[in-house]
């Protein structure tokens, strides 16, 4: 089994920044990426920092210690690391509706990826956009235009899809009952933090509407409730690329410093910047901020008479 000081899971903006900042402080680092996309670019970006890189490795298990189990093209692999930086990003929010499983119904980011990265229309050029994420809709609308497609409908709520030949052929809204013929329905309901790995590591979470759902609780140095597990970027709350990069740099420096690699003023400086430029990113645990939990505990105690 290969051992490292720090394993970073996720090679988005946060993960790359974390791996680079930790490796620059002389920690031995491995960055684990689920995809093989942009592998060459990432490898060259990281080569000057000394961080290792594993592409096409999907982490499916994590144990205290820490040990990470992953699925790779070469079979199962285990990696041991004293610190884990979770940078697993976010996932498109999806909802079920009548006909939502028909071929042709897809996430907006999936369609964007097919158009921008793969250069193929996934089934046709007529698109109905479903959802309310204004920013994503604007971006997708532009991409549809550039690729020579046609936006045929915009539905913000209560969609229903139907088929005449096994694949999506029309979409309607249960509000007005109108049907529009379409090849693709792209769902744009925003994103939610991807906290599966954080939960596997038993990190404490809290609900935050502004951060996009249940997110891990973090200290000022982005450490979770599990010692040695750090979290940065979208998996700790939906935000911009700038936030992800900043948090990655902070998590990397803090994890490195916790292993005895002096960071100078870096951790303090990055902490101050995060606090000043992006307030509200860190959710601390305060019992009095969790009235529902307090209430539940009190009512159970009262019932038990203790």
């Amino acid at each position: 089994m290969r051992s490292f000081d720090i394993a970073v899971v996720g090679a988005g903006p946060a993960g790359v920044a974390a791996a680079a900042s930790a490796a620059r402080l002389d920690a031995t680092v491995v960055l684990i990426s689920e995809t093989t996309d942009e592998t060459g670019q990432l490898r060259s970006e990281l080569s000057s920092t000394g961080a290792g890189f594993m592409a096409g490795a999907q982490v499916w298990g994590a144990w205290p210690g820490y040990e990470l189990a992953m699925h790779t093209a070469a079979g199962a692999q285990l990696v041991r690391a004293s610190r884990v930086i979770v940078a697993t990003g976010s996932t498109a929010i999806t909802r079920s509706f009548l006909g939502s499983d028909l071929p042709g119904v897809m996430t907006g980011e999936g369609l964007l990826r097919m158009l921008k990265v793969h250069g193929v229309w996934p089934g046709g050029k007529r698109v109905a956009i479903v959802g309310d994420d204004a920013e994503a809709i604007e971006q997708l609308d532009l991409a549809i235009d550039e690729a020579g497609g046609e936006l045929v409908a915009l539905i913000d709520a209560n969609p229903v899809a139907r088929s005449t030949n096994g694949v999506l052929t029309a979409i309607g809204s249960r509000v007005d009952g109108e049907w529009t013929e379409t090849d693709i329905a792209a769902l744009c309901w925003g994103r939610r933090p991807d906290i599966a790995l954080a939960l596997m590591l038993e990190c404490g979470t809290r609900y935050s509407g502004s951060l996009g759902g249940f997110v891990p609780v973090r200290s000022q140095t982005l450490e979770s409730t599990r010692e040695g597990v750090y979290l940065c970027g979208d998996c700790a709350g939906i935000g911009s690329v700038e936030v992800a990069r900043l948090e990655g740099a902070l998590a990397g420096a803090a994890a490195s410093e916790s292993l005895g690699h002096a960071s100078g003023q870096q951790v303090a400086t990055l902490q101050k910047r995060l606090h000043a430029e992006h307030p509200g990113r860190i959710l601390a645990v305060h019992e009095d901020e969790m009235p529902w939990r307090q209430h539940a505990i009190e009512s159970v105690r009262a019932r038990r008479g203790s």
């Binding site: 499983d101 071929p103 042709g104 897809m106 996430t107 999936g110 158009l115 089934g123 694949v167």
Partner: protein, 103 residues
């Protein structure tokens, strides 16, 4: 119809020959399996184990498993992330598919 589903093609691309359910098709160098199938007008990749309903890709980032196909006798290959290779024998996956299912 299929040909014009490609976007912004500049110049000739090197073709990659493969078979889908026994039919000869051509993809392009750099295609994922899903991209190549879409470009050939295919929209149904698999059917579901319990309901038998058709699926044709949903997330395109390797999460949802709606695009699983059988490749060279190996089921459960994510068409949206797996790269197309010359001579691949690709099949629609019914249910969870079976190892060794091949033409």
């Amino acid at each position: 119809m299929p040909a014009d589903l490609r976007i912004n093609q500049t110049g000739p691309q090197s073709a990659v020959a493969f078979r889908f359910d026994g039919v000869e098709m051509n993809g392009q160098d750099g295609d994922t399996i899903a991209a190549a199938l879409f470009a050939n007008g295919i929209r149904i990749f698999r059917t579901m184990p319990k309901t038998g309903r058709a699926r044709g890709g949903f997330c395109f980032v390797g999460r949802c498993s709606d695009c699983q196909v059988i490749v060279n006798g190996v089921p459960g290959v994510m068409a949206c992330v797996a790269k197309l290779e010359p001579g691949m024998r690709i099949q629609t996956q019914h249910g969870v598919g079976a190892w060794g299912d091949d033409e």
